[in-house]
């Protein structure tokens, strides 16, 4: 196993390199530049800006310079938020998104996992349908509907919670965003866990265990949950990486200073360096989480072996 992990870590280097290269040229190929607005810049002014940010060099030279900067850990200045570097923007946004995202993922794992397992154990009963219908709500109602609804109920009408704002991370301000983020994940986890649990319950080893006369719950706890979590973990790897890097919809509606907006707003603004920065950051997370998933796999199911 340690040698496998080492191998994977080494393979991260070319992966990141490919990500950077692909993203760099993809982003530059899109029409529009960071300084285009409806107030068209006079040519001299545009030339000054391009010179300042080295955008007037040949693309390959820019690419080389960018790679060198990234190697030194410098993601460059943001083109949109011109008082900040990309490093600073990521450093200020990520802790916020991480906190909300981790809370949402944990909530989803506990609630969704439990719901899925209960539904599987009571397959095709009213409990099953009830639990799963509730879980489905999280998928069927998109978060741009859920979030304003929650604000309307809990902030405007009941006045229990603030309607938005981060307020330096006060607990009150995080409740609605976390719930909004978690709803979708609860639905996913519940559905996947239910399906997987049903598979497990029908597998030979559980049947064997049952035949041996072990009591039901003991079988579930001892032999059921671990394999049932396999597809959940498989889903949660990249999903967790996505959730902890923020959601643009949730951030804009609740006014939260997270990282998620940069993926979308950065792209709309053609903030080349900021988009590249969050892409690389996200790339690292994806690689890390997928590696973690594969390690957890081997632990959950001893039959899984990597060579």
């Amino acid at each position: 196993m340690p040698s496998y992990i080492l191998k994977r870590l080494l393979s991260a280097i070319p992966t990141i390199f490919v990500i950077i290269s692909l993203a760099f040229f993809l982003i530059r190929a899109a029409p529009g530049g960071p300084f285009d607005t409806d107030r068209a810049l006079p040519p001299e002014v545009e030339a000054n800006l391009n010179a300042k940010y080295h955008l007037d060099d040949p693309l390959v030279v820019q690419y080389g310079r960018y790679l060198w900067d990234v190697l030194r850990g410098d993601l460059g200045p943001s083109f949109q938020y011109r008082d900040f570097t990309v490093n600073e923007l990521i450093a200020s946004g990520f802790p916020v998104s991480l906190r909300l995202g981790l809370s949402a993922v944990l909530l989803a794992m506990v609630i969704g996992g439990a719901a899925g397992i209960i539904a599987a154990l009571r397959q095709n009963t009213a409990t099953d349908y009830g639990v799963m219908s509730f879980a489905m709500l999280g998928i069927s109602i998109p978060n741009f509907v859920v979030a304003p609804l929650l604000i309307m109920i809990f902030a405007v009408n009941l006045g229990w919670l603030p309607a938005g704002g981060w307020n330096d991370g006060a607990f009150k301000n995080t409740i609605l965003p976390i719930v909004s983020l978690a709803l979708l994940q609860v639905a996913f986890v519940a559905r996947i866990a239910r399906g997987a649990m049903i598979e497990v319950l029908r597998s030979n080893y559980i049947r064997t265990a049952r035949a041996k006369g072990l009591p039901g719950w003991q079988i579930i706890l001892k032999h059921g949950i671990k394999p049932a979590m396999l597809p959940v973990v498989s889903y949660l790897g990249p999903a967790a990486a996505a959730v902890i890097t923020g959601s643009v919809v949730i951030e804009q509606i609740y006014g939260i200073p997270g990282l998620g907006r940069h993926f979308v707003q950065g792209a709309l603004n053609r903030d080349y360096t900021l988009v590249m920065g969050v892409v690389i950051f996200y790339g690292f997370l994806i690689i890390a989480f997928n590696l973690l998933v594969d390690i957890i796999y081997a632990w959950l199911d001893p039959k899984v072996r990597y060579s």
């Binding site: 899109a30 029409p31 529009g32 530049g33 300084f35 285009d36 607005t37 409806d38 107030r39 068209a40 810049l41 006079p42 001299e44 002014v45 000054n48 800006l49 010179a51 300042k52 940010y53 200045p77 949109q80 938020y81 011109r82 008082d83 900040f84 923007l89 200020s92 946004g93 979030a147 304003p148 604000i151 309307m152 902030a155 405007v156 006045g159 603030p162 309607a163 938005g164 704002g165 981060w166 330096d168 951030e251 804009q252 509606i253 609740y254 006014g255 939260i256 200073p257 997270g258 907006r261 709309l268 603004n269 053609r270």
Partner: protein
């Protein structure tokens, strides 16, 4: 349609800019300062114990550096942080700022500003003419990379410095002494003083810029000369300003702390306002919520004219609109503007039959004479032109209409496509595009046919609109090119009187509109919610609302 009364318009257009300057000079000569920059609450108003205001401000400021920032979200905040040579009263009138008065030379090409001796930076340093020299040079210095450097293009040598042909030191600005700042212009520029309210010409504190570089706008580093100083900047969350005790007019400032929140989602902003998190919203309320607001919060809704025009452009360099003024006119005439303003949007915007918004300083705009025709007459004329342009029911015009993705743009495009179809039989394909793609396609003038544009003026003068028709203007996306128009605008700089200039500009506007390269749709308004306990707020066409003019009543 609900329009808020707009009383200040008369007061502005009633005073000529020269007259205003002269009166300012006279009063200063009398040795008093009648225009206080900050409005003291009227006697009898009971103020709240806690003078804190929470303002919604849309997207995050792109920068707090006056010479760097480009967005209005940023200048809203900079207006509180910095003070220019001139400032604005709550109703938008120009008033002395750091300059207590100024002299204008006979040929109106030289401005000499006399700075207040008591103007100070927030660290106690005096604000000097040298600081302005430093800041203005910084604005045009190519190394700064300012997007607004052309703002001071009228200053002698500015364009050469921007183009890198001359060093920044050759910019024709000078500090005659610590408190006298002199500017030389290439030509008399009637809007020069109005322009000085723009954030790009705000002064910065030279020692801290030199010391901190890009980081000089951070809390703790930022030395400012306005009524407030930067206390907190939580990126994408909020900016907190606190009173600047060094500000020369500090005693007339009432509010102690101002919070500017990032509110990107307009609907969510209104909810936040209703839940009590905000005291006032940014300048746009979502159309879909207005009915609810009018019914439930009528007292808190303020709608007022804004210096902007929403229009459609026809690409005059490509078929079908190239060399086809009749077709363009037919399409423009068959747009029922009142339906768009009163029914589709119903948010207070004003139907536009001219190009320069009403309320612009010293200017009475041109309007299409067919504005006063009945709907039937207008449509009959449009149909006649449409036929003369070579189209008919059997041979309808097929046209592409482009807009950038946004709810209101979409509604208007759908409405206009329906009008063209119903009134003329035109078959319109509407195409939405992502903003930057749209900008590029529009500027290329290659595949565009009809498209939407909007323009908010940079300063309070007709020229900021009319220059869009210059053949070499970067925003001239219709391809309108008329040497006589270019000459007319150029000549307008050298006219003697305000009236003469206004007449020339009006003639230019008529010429521009008469080409039917554009179809004006509506004049912008601002719409915002303000809590009844916020005092001192006055509508103005620039949508500039200094926090120092506001106060919080006891509630």
């Amino acid at each position: 349609m609900k329009k808020t009364a707009h009383t200040f318009r008369h007061s502005i257009s009633g005073t000529s800019s020269l007259g205003r300057i002269i009166s300012a000079l006279l009063i200063v000569a009398l040795g008093s300062i009648p225009f206080t920059a900050a409005a003291k609450p009227p006697a009898g108003v009971k103020l709240a114990e806690e003078q804190v205001i929470h303002r919604g401000n849309g997207a995050e400021a792109d920068s707090l550096d006056p010479q760097i920032s480009e967005s209005t979200n940023a200048s809203n905040i900079q207006r509180d942080l910095f003070e220019s040579l001139v400032s604005e009263a709550p109703d938008g009138r120009l008033i002395p700022g750091v300059a207590k008065n100024w002299d204008i030379s006979e040929d109106r090409r030289q401005y000499t500003f006399h700075l207040r001796e008591n103007a100070k930076w927030s660290n106690g340093d005096p604000v000097t003419a040298h600081d302005f020299v430093f800041s203005w040079r910084r604005l045009v210095d190519p190394a700064t990379g300012s997007r607004y450097s052309m703002m001071i293009a009228p200053v002698t040598n500015a364009e050469a410095v921007i183009a890198g042909e001359m060093p920044p030191e050759s910019l024709a600005v000078a500090a005659l002494d610590d408190h006298t700042f002199q500017v030389n212009l290439d030509a008399p520029t009637p809007y020069f003083l109005s322009m000085l309210t723009h954030s790009s010409v705000y002064p910065v504190h030279p020692p801290s810029v030199q010391k901190f570089g890009r980081d000089f706008t951070r809390p703790g580093n930022l030395i400012s000369n306005g009524a407030y100083v930067l206390d907190e900047w939580r990126v994408q969350s909020h900016i907190k300003l606190v009173r600047n005790p060094q500000y020369w007019d500090n005693e007339n400032t009432t509010i102690d702390e101002a919070y500017y929140y990032v509110t990107e989602d307009m609907n969510a902003e209104v909810l936040r306002y209703r839940a009590g998190g905000l005291d006032m919203t940014q300048e746009n309320l979502p159309v879909s919520m207005l009915d609810w607001i009018r019914e439930n919060l009528p007292e808190e809704l303020v709608i007022s004219p804004w210096l902007g025009i929403y229009y459609y452009g026809f690409n005059m360099t490509q078929p079908p609109f190239k060399d086809n003024p009749k077709l363009r006119k037919a399409l423009s005439m068959s747009i029922d503007r009142e339906i768009i303003t009163d029914k589709v949007l119903d948010n207070g915007v004003i139907p536009a039959y001219g190009f320069v918004p009403p309320g612009v300083l010293d200017y009475e705009g041109y309007e299409y004479p067919w504005k006063d025709m009945s709907r039937e007459e207008r449509l009959a004329e449009a149909r006649r032109l449409y036929r003369e342009a070579g189209y008919s029911e059997e041979n309808p015009l097929r046209v592409e209409l482009r807009y950038n993705t946004e709810q209101n743009h979409k509604k208007i495009a759908l409405a206009i496509a329906a009008m063209w179809k119903q009134n003329l039989g035109v078959l319109t394909e509407i195409i939405n595009q992502e903003w930057k793609v749209f900008l590029n396609v529009r500027a290329e003038k290659r595949i565009t046919q009809a498209f939407r544009i909007g323009w908010i003026g940079d300063y309070n003068d007709a020229y900021t609109f009319l220059e869009l028709g210059l053949s070499n203007n970067g925003q001239n996306d219709t391809g309108y090119a008329d040497p006589s128009y270019d000459k007319l605008l150029k000549d307008s700089f050298n006219t003697g009187s305000v009236e003469e200039r206004a007449a020339m500009l009006r003639q230019a506007e008529e010429q521009f509109l008469g080409s039917y390269g554009v179809a004006p749709i509506y004049y912008y308004v601002t719409s915002r919610l303000i809590k009844p306990y916020v005092g001192g707020y006055q509508s103005n066409i620039m949508n500039h609302h200094y926090t120092k003019n506001l106060y919080i009543k006891a509630h």
